[in-house]
């Protein structure tokens, strides 16, 4: 039983597979053949989904830990900067209805919860919550970048994530993993599985390379989930009764001109049966409609997307992807752990898919079971941790829907209390009288900070009744100073930061320095 873990085999060469391979190989210095060996098998027949263009700021650290140069990543993966999301028409559907979920925390967030002060401060009342406490909305509105060409790589003036070309990203990671990190790459189809007596996987049966054995297997085979689903048949936690979106229609539009402005945020525009994402890359825009086919026919959905895209819309390059909201109840079974789409999927409203891959990669790389004896302990911990995280994400995504005043069936159904998880209902009850703050989320495994809940709640016009806690709001002066400071920072940042497109052009030419 105490066989040491000496080899990991990953099935799947989408972004999940290569992120896992890279993180594990970098952490364990797999270049050295005496150390843990990492092999990735991918099918040439089944191509990766190649959607998934929005990341989290965590991606900076993930790439850094893998020894990736940010300059090369930006130059080769068609990357642009992402500074959050703009939610348009989510509240009442009117043309000027929008709010931001920026990536920068509210001003002085660790010292003060500004939310109740924002609500009581008459001067702030005509400014959005995000604009009152954070400078990033203005950067986005003005198409500015989150940093300067003199800022070191992976460092931001404003917190930032990326928009990227998912296919190029997977290729880039493949090259980095195989050239620099010692990951072995096999192009082959996994056909079936051989098992040990204890139901562990002993080897994978492939079509050209025979049996491939390992101590740990990572299932990154996408929606086909060949190990965790087809082989182990671990139960699926279906969440389509909470999150109704079950179809995606995606298109890519080439940029008109090389110097078109590039939005530095994801634009998410609500429709009558779902919402449309709009992600600007240097060479193209990725646009997609995720909707519920229980509320809208495909023909109508295509019509919505066509209207959004405008005259350049063509049905010929439309990609249709059915999606099923939910996740495995057990992610790590025996010596097999599922990551990426194989572990589950939720609508891409807050780009939570890749961040879960990164979090899984962190945990697997850093807590890799030393031997078979400790594997079940780590597996149990992994399953607990990720069940918690999925639950939190589901609550947070649902939060976006329940405060809407839109009146189409899709939106009315979303507000039906029967579709709202108890855990979220409880929080909403609490927030009627208390503004969200870190004490509401005190696990070390949180995904979204309380600040994110604040941005959504108050962006959607939610009011916390602070009458009862008024006597405890004794930091008026300090709060006032923070609002003033934020205004000054906003002006300054808008002055010094370059246009998103201009910074990208400079990065192509000069690159960032390491320091």
């Amino acid at each position: 039983m105490n066989k040491p873990t000496k080899s990991v085999v990953i099935v799947g060469g989408g972004t999940a597979g290569w992120l896992i391979a890279g993180r594990i190989a970098a952490q364990h210095n797999s270049k050295d053949s005496n150390n843990l060996q990492v092999t990735l098998i991918e099918s040439a027949k089944i191509s990766p989904v190649n959607v998934g263009e929005g990341t989290w700021p965590t991606m900076r650290n993930t790439l850094k830990k893998m020894g990736v140069s940010e300059t090369e990543f930006i130059q080769q993966c068609c990357v642009s900067f992402k500074q959050g999301a703009k939610f348009a028409r989510w509240l009442d559907g009117s043309v000027d209805d929008f709010y931001y979920h920026p990536l920068v925390l509210p001003q002085s967030y660790s010292n003060i919860n500004l939310a109740p002060y924002w609500q009581t401060d008459s001067e702030q009342s005509n400014s959005s919550f995000s604009n009152s406490v954070c400078f990033q909305e203005q950067l986005c509105e003005q198409g500015l970048a989150p940093k300067l060409i003199t800022t070191a790589e992976y460092v931001g003036v404003a917190n930032y994530a990326y928009h990227l070309d998912s296919a190029k990203f997977a290729n880039f990671l493949k090259k980095h993993c195989t050239d620099k990190l010692g990951v072995k790459h096999i192009v082959d189809d996994v056909l079936s599985v051989n098992s040990h007596e204890n139901a562990d996987i002993s080897s994978l049966v492939t079509s050209k390379n025979g049996n491939i054995s390992a101590d740990l297997f990572v299932d990154c085979s996408g929606f086909s989930a060949i190990l965790i689903g087809k082989h182990y048949k671990t139960p699926f936690n279906d969440k389509s009764d909470v999150l109704f979106v079950n179809q995606a229609l995606a298109v890519q539009l080439p940029n008109q001109k090389n110097n078109d402005e590039i939005a530095s945020h994801t634009i998410s525009t609500a429709q009558d049966a779902g919402w449309i994402w709009d992600i600007g890359l240097p060479t193209r825009r990725g646009i997609g409609y995720v909707y519920s086919d229980n509320h809208q026919s495909e023909a109508q959905a295509i019509e919505r997307l066509a209207v959004y895209v405008g005259p350049n819309f063509s049905e010929s390059n439309l990609k249709k992807i059915p999606i099923k909201a939910g996740h495995r109840k057990i992610f790590w079974q025996n010596n097999c752990v599922a990551v990426g789409l194989a572990s589950g999927f939720l609508e891409p409203l807050e780009a939570s898919s890749l961040v879960l891959v990164e979090m899984s990669a962190d945990m697997i790389a850093e807590q890799l079971p030393a031997c078979r004896q400790t594997m079940d302990i780590i597996a149990k911990r992994f399953n607990q941790t990720f069940n918690y995280r999925w639950k939190r994400i589901i609550d947070f995504l649902k939060l976006h829907y329940i405060l809407s005043k839109r009146t189409e069936d899709f939106w009315l159904d979303n507000r039906n209390p029967k579709t709202i998880p108890d855990s979220l209902q409880e929080l909403m009850e609490l927030w009627k009288y208390h503004s969200p703050y870190d004490h509401d989320f005190n696990s070390s495994n949180e995904v979204f900070p309380a600040a994110s809940y604040q941005y959504i709640l108050y962006g959607m016009g939610f009011k916390t009744d602070i009458e009862y806690q008024k006597s405890s709001l004794n930091q008026q002066t300090f709060a006032q100073q923070q609002f003033v400071a934020n205004k000054a920072i906003t002006i300054k940042a808008c002055e010094v930061l370059p246009k998103n497109r201009d910074l990208l052009n400079k990065i192509y030419k000069y690159g960032f320095q390491h320091v």
Partner: protein, 245 residues
């Protein structure tokens, strides 16, 4: 090319001359000046040499530091340069090299900034000036000197580029932040300066060290790091002003 930069020629500039020892005038509002690697051995004895990033490209540039904020030159007092050494960049003023746009042969032209306070357009009358040309239309010593200095500067730029490439490959740059408390108890945090991290040298393998040595880079690095001692002097100079104020 700016309209003030004109190719030097006898026809237009027969009477032009350069005023001597006016570098302080020109530089009193400069808080730094670019330095080439071939100038390091001399300048490191007199000024702190640090790397900054070009605001246009983010690329490293080697400079001699004269002050802590834009416009501040602590070596210049009452238009007198209080240091024994004047960096080449200041010595070359008002002359510049311009390159032809022609891709195939990059011809160099010696140009003069006709707006510079260092030139006198009617030199013959001015005893202190050195005229560009002698009576026969031959270049005078000042033009020959300028050409020499400009060639040295151009060579220095090339050496810097090669050094920066190597230092980047070996990840030798580190950022330097200065936390200074002045005599009047006010504090300044100076950011945006970079140096070569000597501890990184210790992590290099023999091969890498050998390469650095054979290029003379190890010596440069020592000279650069030695020059940082002058920062203390610069702080003193500024403190003197503060106390008097």
């Amino acid at each position: 090319m700016s309209k003030y930069l004109i190719e030097v020629n006898f026809q237009d500039h027969a009477n032009y001359s350069v005023l001597r020892e006016n570098s302080a005038q020109q530089a009193k509002h400069l808080n730094m000046i670019p330095i080439g690697l071939n100038e390091v051995h001399k300048t490191s004895l007199h000024y702190p040499l640090v790397w900054i990033k070009s605001s246009v490209s983010g690329q490293f540039k080697l400079v001699a530091l004269f002050g802590f904020e834009p416009g501040e030159n602590l070596y210049c007092k009452n238009d007198i340069w209080n240091n024994n050494h004047i960096p080449l960049h200041l010595q070359s003023d008002p002359f510049y090299l311009a390159y032809s746009n022609n891709e195939t042969d990059k011809e160099k032209y010696l140009c003069v900034n006709i707006n510079s306070q260092k030139i006198d357009v009617n030199g013959k009358k001015n005893k202190t000036g050195l005229t560009f040309f002698n009576g026969n239309g031959e270049k005078n010593i000042c033009l020959h000197q300028a050409q020499e200095i400009l060639a040295t500067l151009a060579h220095g730029e090339m050496l810097n580029e090669m050094f920066i490439k190597t230092a980047n490959q070996l990840d030798l740059f580190q950022s330097l932040s200065l936390d200074i408390t002045w005599h009047n108890h006010q504090t300044s945090k100076i950011l945006g300066l970079y140096t070569i991290d000597p501890s990184k040298l210790e992590q290099l393998n023999e091969n890498q060290i050998y390469k650095l040595k054979s290029n003379g880079y190890i010596e440069f690095i020592h000279q650069l790091n030695y020059s940082l001692n002058h920062i203390e002097n610069l702080i003193k100079l500024k403190n003197n002003l503060i106390v008097k104020a």
